[in-house]
Subunit: 213 residues, 2 copies
Amino acid sequence: MSTAAETAGGDIEPWEEVTPDAARRLLVAAVEAFAERGYHATTTRDIAGRAGMSPAALYIHYKTKEELLHRISRIGHDRALGILRTASQGGGGATERLADAVSSFVRWHAGRRTTARVVQYELDALGPEARDEILALRRRVDAEVRGIIEDGVASGEFDVPDVHGTTLAVLSLCIDVARWFNVNGPRTPDEVGALYADLVLRMVGAEPPLAQR
Amino acid sequence: MSTAAETAGGDIEPWEEVTPDAARRLLVAAVEAFAERGYHATTTRDIAGRAGMSPAALYIHYKTKEELLHRISRIGHDRALGILRTASQGGGGATERLADAVSSFVRWHAGRRTTARVVQYELDALGPEARDEILALRRRVDAEVRGIIEDGVASGEFDVPDVHGTTLAVLSLCIDVARWFNVNGPRTPDEVGALYADLVLRMVGAEPPLAQR
DNA sequence: ACCGGCCCTAAGCGACCGCTCAGCTTCGGC
DNA sequence: GCCGAAGCTGAGCGGTCGCTTAGGGCCGGT
């Protein structure tokens, strides 16, 4: 079903860009804690403890607790946007590109659920300027999906009366996977991605791809 | 498009069941504060202040801050379940009942967004026994939607390969409206409800109702 | 051998949290 | 006129929060 973007750049712990090592350990610990309890319910002592350090060590690498959330949100949105772009720029018609985009986007939200949860649901905990920066990234995410749908409408592959509303619904559907997906549940991220790609193609009125007929 | 459940029981401030008056004012204040900032970021002083009382007044009507959230969540889930049941037990075929259920459910999540936000996104802040009680209500919500979809499959109105997965996706789509809906945005709750009912009928492979052809 | 910079810790500061309590006011029943 | 219950407030308790500070090991360069 998919061509590229299978593991668009190291799916296992994609924090190699964070250095030094202690800063990365703190950031990974923060992702886990924020995802489990939420930003406001997480204490700096908890984050430092998970990383095997004293509470004060956090402030050597990050100015505040909010900076940790900002860095996580920024990196996560970059990754999510990259996944969508890879699928969007892939070959094939709008049908195939939309299926690719949805399945890989959903796979990320399910497989890397802790990160996705923080990225998608803790936006309001950021200050105004940090939130604005992240919102700009979200607009680009929206534009990427809307572009594929517009292509499909233009080529006659899709039948969509309300492009903006449908784009919103497609993204909403994918993002909410981070809320309900259960690692110990009956479905793998791949299965949810395939199911959702099929549902989204139905939403836009596309003919199912040959492989499914 | 719809028959019953238009305003299934007083859409404007449906907290008349909470007495005495001071307790209701505190609860409404808590809903607003929890929706704006989240449960953990809201202080009891903030709730009492919004209700025009001193911080100590809260503890005359509620034992703890968590009891406030529990009461809100319980009432909200009851209301949501009632809306779905009204639509589910309405007349007509599965297509019409599913469209009714989705449009009224979405209308509630959009129009009463502050309540829905607290109800759907602050579940983890409850203690184990309160959370279990709410989870039981959610299972009944899920069963209500799944029942309509199963009816549609049995009658041949729907074409759904994965009933459980599709039920999950439909509910997820509706619930996430509480996250993104903007009161000052371009769409009214009614419009979003109609759009989503159409999208969901496409997801289950139903023929559009006559009114839309 | 000595130094300066880098990480890190132990201790703790001031602020604010959820929540309590003694006492004040209000009001219906008699 | 008096009383007890109900509703509410001002003050504050113990605890925990985000964050700071002083100083200790470690290490490469000289």
